[in-house]
Amino acid sequence: MAEPVRSPPSPRLEMRMGHRRLIPFNVAIALPAQLTVLTVVLVPTAIVVWLSFTDWQPTQGIPWYQAEPVWFWNYYDLFHDARFVAAVLRTLLIVAVCVVVEFLLAMSLALLFLDDWPWRKIAISIIILPMMVVPVDAANAFFMLFNDRGPINYLISIIVGRQFEFAWLADPNWALLPIMLAEIWQWTPLMFLLVLTGLMNLPENQIRAAYVLGASRTRIVLRIMLPLLTPVIIIALLVRSVETFKIFDPVYILTRGGPGAATETISMFMYNGAFVYFRIGYIAAAALMILVVVAAICVNLSRPLKRHHR
């Protein structure tokens, strides 16, 4: 008689589970993965929860478990912390802009690759090159490109007709642009692949029928392809949004969140707070807030993912 598992296993395999075990076999083999995640993720999260109710700093000279609780004051301060609010809004802005731009570019590009044409495979190989560069090295490349005497400014000088030596990364208003461009450059190919795969998997019949019936190309794209592509689009947007939300490497390499705090994203804010100011407890509260909100959003949005997977 098999040990009860959490939901009915398929009957065939159930037949072979003869003897009792301490831990059901299926649970045992999932344990290594589960334990790794538990240790590396869940235990630290528990510590974060504790720390978020204290104002612990290593410079207080006491171990973290002896920190004095300040209960909800951290959260109160966070709400009133202009820098934190700005970081959140800025990150949302970056996610919105980057993901949308990536998607539009990817979509337009993918449509060009629907038919077969000579060199198509090679073109795809080059176009996906950016996502296969180590992000840190890509960021370094962009740092060099956006130097005030670098190639980007040089090209702009040619277009504009006069000397253009703008210090992108030192300007509080424009420093976000190189960061977003680096992100978009690196991950549009990913969107491109996702969308292209989705498009190639679309049922041919409907599309062919539409052609035969004389529909214009635009109509076909908008009225037939896009709706059919919706699940893929949702997954692509969701995956990219979550990953972009965590953006860190380009921000760290290009500006460190500067000048001042003009390009601070959530991750950069937390890094600066924890590793430059050492306000561990305060940042733990920020981290917890972010975790809760992100988890809530994703749990709700992952229903379409579940549905698609069935």
Binding site: R12, N26, I29, F113, M132, D137, P151, L193, K246, A274
Partner: protein, 295 residues
Amino acid sequence: MLEDNLWVRFLKRTGVGLAIVIAFFPIFWLVSTSFKPIDEWQRFPPVWISSEPTLQNYRIVFAPKAAQEFAAKQKGAISYKVSGSAWKAFGDSAVIAIGATIFSVLFGTLAAYSIVRFHTGGSSYPFQFLVVRMFPPIAIVVPMVVLFSILRLSDSYLGLILAYTAFTLPFSIWMIRSFIEEVPEELEGAALIYGMRPLQAFLKVTFPLIRGGVLATALFVFILNWSEFLFALTLTSGHVVTVTLQVANYVSASSGKLYGVQAAMGTISTLPVILFGYVIQRHLVRGLSFGAIKR
């Protein structure tokens, strides 16, 4: 299909051409800078391709002694006393990336098998792993420092390997899960009837069929591990150095960022990723969409 008129065809070509140029340009700049001598790094107008290409940057990265000798002989060549060795960085990165990949794929395969064939944990169990992927890692980095210090894993290979394993398990599990789902359960069922135990059945019957997919997952996870930056930055204090950290070491007190040397380091450290990326090109989509989108 519809015939493109000349105008549309032209637009198409330009679009693709532009995409190719934009995709290639930063990489071109990186590689090109890696061959430039120091006075060309920040010249204006910019130097597109060096007129006096040099290997000095690569020498500094890979053969510091030879670089010193060269700098002594050649005027104007950059000389830089490097203490951290790039070889160590590549070695450390390799150890950590390979170790973490093995663990991730091993645990992931077992867990995926358990989920697909036994529905362990119910229908929402796999999503628990997805939630891990949604955490901004910075949020738990400091408690991880605390935890690792308790476990004596600070600034150690095993510490980073564990961290990487945990954060790539979502990919492993979901990717391999989608591969296993493509293999009909009946095949294992048949094996069971022949007297095999469930795990044996899986290994002898299903696994050979998904070997390609598992390999693709392994390479995919390797790429993620090799490129990782945040954990390497915060969980190490100099004993363990990965390639992503080593790049930042090429700064000198007299010249600031050594662009050429950083470019050389970047070019070489990105090669494995490009290589493996192309090998698993077919499976990239599956991986990056957590198995939701397949060809």
